[in-house]
């Protein structure tokens, strides 16, 4: 087992999924509750990583984080080191790559809430923020947890984007999926088998969590 790669992957996924929950809650709220005609445009952009080949996604992200792009230059000036081929660069790329996996479950949970509950909250004097904190969020907590878990798992499992943006620097950008690839390339089948088995067990456990959670009728049942 490549413990260094495992620890790096865990740190990356935890950081990315935390950032994504913070981003996806307001983003999903906007997508579900605003009434602008071009909402579908934002939805499509958010969902692009679902259909784009990871290498294409990784290519654009590499261009965006390289020292020749405005973002890459700005980062270089602030921090004194480039963004591409660093852990931070990997975090930025992963946030974009896993965005739909966080936004979609949260948006689905928001959309499921009976609109009269929000109206009732308003007639009882509650502001939009209070309605969100007291009614919408508590009734969507499963969706938020699902978004957290799925984006964590998806970040753990990414390969193409990491290879494009991060390369393969042990302790910096070498995640566990890259490690498996490396082992196979070096004909180290024993290590590859162990690591792959670990990933399989982990992914299965995550899905058990997500689907097991959905069976709990905590807030799903609408009131007659």
């Amino acid at each position: 087992m490549d413990w260094q790669a495992l620890w790096l992957t865990a740190r990356l996924a935890a950081l990315v999924s935390t950032i994504l929950v913070v981003i996806s809650i307001p983003l999903a709220h906007w997508i579900v509750f605003n009434r602008r005609r071009w909402t579908f445009l934002v939805e499509s952009v958010v969902s692009l990583p679902l259909v784009l080949p990871p290498t294409v996604m990784g290519f654009y992200l590499l261009m965006a984080t390289g020292t020749r792009s405005p973002l890459g230059r700005l980062w270089n000036e602030w921090t004194g080191h480039p963004l591409a081929f660093t852990f931070e660069g990997l975090v930025v790329a992963s946030v974009f790559y896993s965005l739909p996996f966080a936004v979609q479950p949260v948006a689905a949970a928001f959309a499921q809430i009976d609109p009269t509950l929000r109206e009732a909250s308003a007639t009882l004097g509650a502001s939009r923020l209070r309605t969100f904190l007291r009614v919408v969020l508590p009734l969507s907590i499963e969706g938020v947890v699902a978004g957290l878990v799925l984006s964590f798992a998806h970040t753990v499992g990414e390969f193409g984007v990491v290879l494009m943006v991060g390369g393969n620097l042990p302790g910096v950008t070498r995640t566990i999926s890259i490690a498996v690839y490396d082992h196979v390339q070096a004909l180290q089948y024993r290590e590859a088998t162990l690591t792959a088995l670990f990933m399989l067990a982990f992914s299965f456990a995550v899905l058990l969590m997500v689907y097991g959670l959905r069976r709990r009728p905590l807030a799903a049942a609408p009131m007659a």
Binding site: L117, E119, A120, S121, T123, G125, A219, M223
Partner: protein
């Protein structure tokens, strides 16, 4: 304090709302068939739907005015709203639901108000339960307590009791009336049930296709319905267009010719002059049937007809009798068996003068 509203609203479906009314303190019924615009009116008053034009005010406080323009946000309107689906927060207890609108109050006072409101609606024993752990009637009481505990300036109720037993409806309405005795706020109560309208309303606004077609006490409006949809909702299965043929001031009656027939009915004397068009409403349960010509009755209308059809609806037999005009008659299965209601058989209709409710369309149209 009174609630006044003037609203116009055109929906994409082609439906157009155009109403103007005043709601005095007490219960005013907003009565009409589904699709007549009742809920749209409530939503416009509450600010949940934006009218195209108009003005909404409670007392001196203007909530909406398309001229000024002014549109007070929903949370600042201070109106209680009870939704048809109740919209209780499923993740909160009864107490938390009731306390929801009292966020600005200090904790102690909030708890005291919750207990007081729960007591008024007899749910003080359920404060720790969640909405899915209490009965339908208890949920209605919770929704009412939640809306009223905030001391709103007016109360808007969208068919809140229609799913409940009559006895429970009465109890809840009694509690609501008691609550409102001291406060005297205008209550606008939407329903399409004439029973609820009679039992609960001080005044009634009858709505048809987005317009107020009649207003007055529930008895004034619903006992003499001039419009077919209103008549059906008010429990009058028969509504005939007719003209006044003769008036008898001394007898307190007049004879009316049913349109398109040679059938005449004697009805109570009204304001309509001879030759004027009137509508005659008649409950299907107020008509008697006989299998031979009856004699020696006080009833003034005895019409010969033939059975056109008879069908069972639950425990009621609905017979259609052709006597020039078509009459719907309700009978018990036993009564129908005695008569042998075969299509084509001759029957006599017996109708008391005072069972006929006459509306002079010009009287009750508009306000």
């Amino acid at each position: 304090m009174t609630l006044s509203a003037r609203l116009t609203k055109r929906l994409t479906s082609g439906f157009a709302l155009d109403v103007s009314f005043v709601v005095e303190p007490g219960v005013t019924i907003l009565f009409g068939a589904s699709g007549s615009g009742k809920t749209t009116i409530l939503r416009c008053v509450a600010g949940l739907t934006r009218p195209d034009a108009g003005r909404v005010a409670v007392g001196e406080r203007v909530l909406f005015d398309s001229q000024s323009p002014r549109d007070v946000p929903v949370p600042e309107r201070r109106l209680g709203y009870v939704f048809q689906q109740l919209a209780l927060f499923p993740h909160m207890t009864v107490a938390e639901n009731i306390a929801y609108g009292l966020a600005a109050l200090p904790r102690g006072e909030r708890q005291q108000r919750v207990v007081e409101a729960a007591g008024s609606f007899h749910i003080e024993g359920l404060l720790g339960r969640r909405p899915d752990q209490i009965s339908g009637g208890e949920r209605q009481r919770t929704a009412l307590a939640r809306a009223l505990v905030t001391d709103p300036d007016a109360l808007l109720l969208d068919e809140p009791l229609s799913a409940l037993d009559y006895a429970i409806q009465r109890h809840i309405m009694d509690d609501l009336r008691r609550w409102n005795e001291a406060r005297r706020i205008p209550v606008l109560y939407v329903t399409h049930s004439h029973r609820e309208a009679f039992a609960l309303g001080d005044r009634l606004l009858a709505l048809e296709q987005g317009r107020v077609v009649a207003s007055g006490s529930p008895h004034e409006v619903l006992d003499h319905p001039a419009h077919a949809p209103l008549a059906a909702l008010a429990g009058f299965e028969n509504l005939f267009a007719a003209t006044v043929a003769a008036r008898s001031e001394r007898g307190g009656t007049m004879r009316c010719l049913l349109a398109g027939t040679s059938t005449e009915l004697e009805v109570p004397l009204g304001a309509a002059p001879v030759g004027a068009p009137v509508r005659i409403a008649l409950r299907a349960g107020d008509i008697l049937l006989a299998d031979r010509e009856p004699a020696g009755l006080s009833a003034r209308n005895i019409l010969r007809g033939t059975v056109a059809a008879s069908t069972m609806h639950g425990t009621t037999v609905v017979a259609t009798i052709d006597a020039g005009a078509r009459f719907l008659v309700h009978l018990t299965p036993g009564g129908a068996d005695t008569l042998g209601l075969q299509p084509g058989n001759p029957v006599w209709l017996v109708i008391k003068t005072y069972s006929c409710r006459v509306a002079h369309p010009r009287d009750s149209a508009g306000q």
